[in-house]
């Protein structure tokens, strides 16, 4: 039910505010390339660990932050989860993810808002919540 929290990778060791403005990490870009990435889209490393090896190879074009983001995707996670895990604004994480997607390193599953018709599933959700 509860998920473990961990220190943000971009928070300084003494816990003080980061000194680098978030968009400095994205070379000033404020828009992600390609299709929009939903806040609850699920991200996973494409092709498992191979992608991590490949990412290391193309590190020259990607920054260390990209690698850090990629490492966080080792187990499937939502974009919102990644942003809190990395302690980065949503927009910044989206830019990194779009870069990784462009290079075929991550797989992003966009949610489709069709589940609202699925009353059986929603009843299951209500029952599960009742057990909380």
């Amino acid at each position: 039910m509860i998920y473990a929290s961990s220190g943000g990778a971009f928070t300084r060791v003494d816990g003080s505010e980061r000194v680098v403005r978030p968009y400095a990490l994205t070379a000033g870009r404020t828009r992600a390339s390609g299709p929009a990435i939903d806040v609850v889209a699920l991200v996973s490393v494409a092709g498992g660990m191979l992608a991590l090896d490949r990412a290391t190879e193309i590190m020259s074009e990607l920054g260390p932050e990209h690698l850090r983001v990629l490492r966080c995707c080792r187990s499937r996670a939502s974009v919102a989860d990644l942003a809190t895990e990395l302690d980065l604004p949503l927009g910044v994480v989206r830019i990194f993810l779009a870069d990784l997607r462009d290079r075929g390193l991550v797989r992003i599953q966009q949610p489709v808002p069709v589940g609202l018709q699925d009353t059986v599933l929603l009843k299951e959700v209500a029952d599960a919540l009742r057990r909380l």
Binding site: V39, V40, L42, V92, L121, E124, V125, A128
Partner: protein
Amino acid sequence: MPYAGSEQTGDRHSVPVAIKILVAGGFGVGKTTLVSSVSEVRPLRTEEDMSEPSSMVDQLDGVELKTTTTVAMDFGRISISDDLVVYLFGTPGQRRFWFMWDELAYGALGAVVMADTRRLADCFPSIDYFERNGMPFVVAVNCFDDARRYPIETMRSALNLSEDVPLLLCDARQRASSRDVLVALVEHAVARISSGRDVTPAR
């Protein structure tokens, strides 16, 4: 909401499903408290373009070139199973944050609008938003210890709520109470779907 690109197999649970729920309401009404009583809450930051209304409110002297602003949301997560997760987003209720809701509202199951009887008007913008958007919502009146209690019907008419919108009392500090609010929302959404009303929010 299942995910695109997922293989449709006989086993529904092989398709991950995300249920997105918004928690809205005025400043200090108990959104963080509600989200944290049912899940572990974490701050989710967004850097947003500053909207016109915001630039009228926020002090910009000396930083006229600032075009984005950091907005923090409460983000909670309830894992029902590996492939079924409820995501809660506690969002600031003021009208100037609506631009942010548009994105969150996409594909959301519904919303909880929190109200405080001492400052009832603070939840009006949230109610307006969800009524306009056509998204299912429930109103949860957070019963603060020192707030006067009113009969449900009095509050309903003060909020000018339509009959089909559930209005309930809650104590956001209590897990069971917050849970009941979420259950009421899910059941309300099911009822609306069953009655054949289109609840898919427009983008």
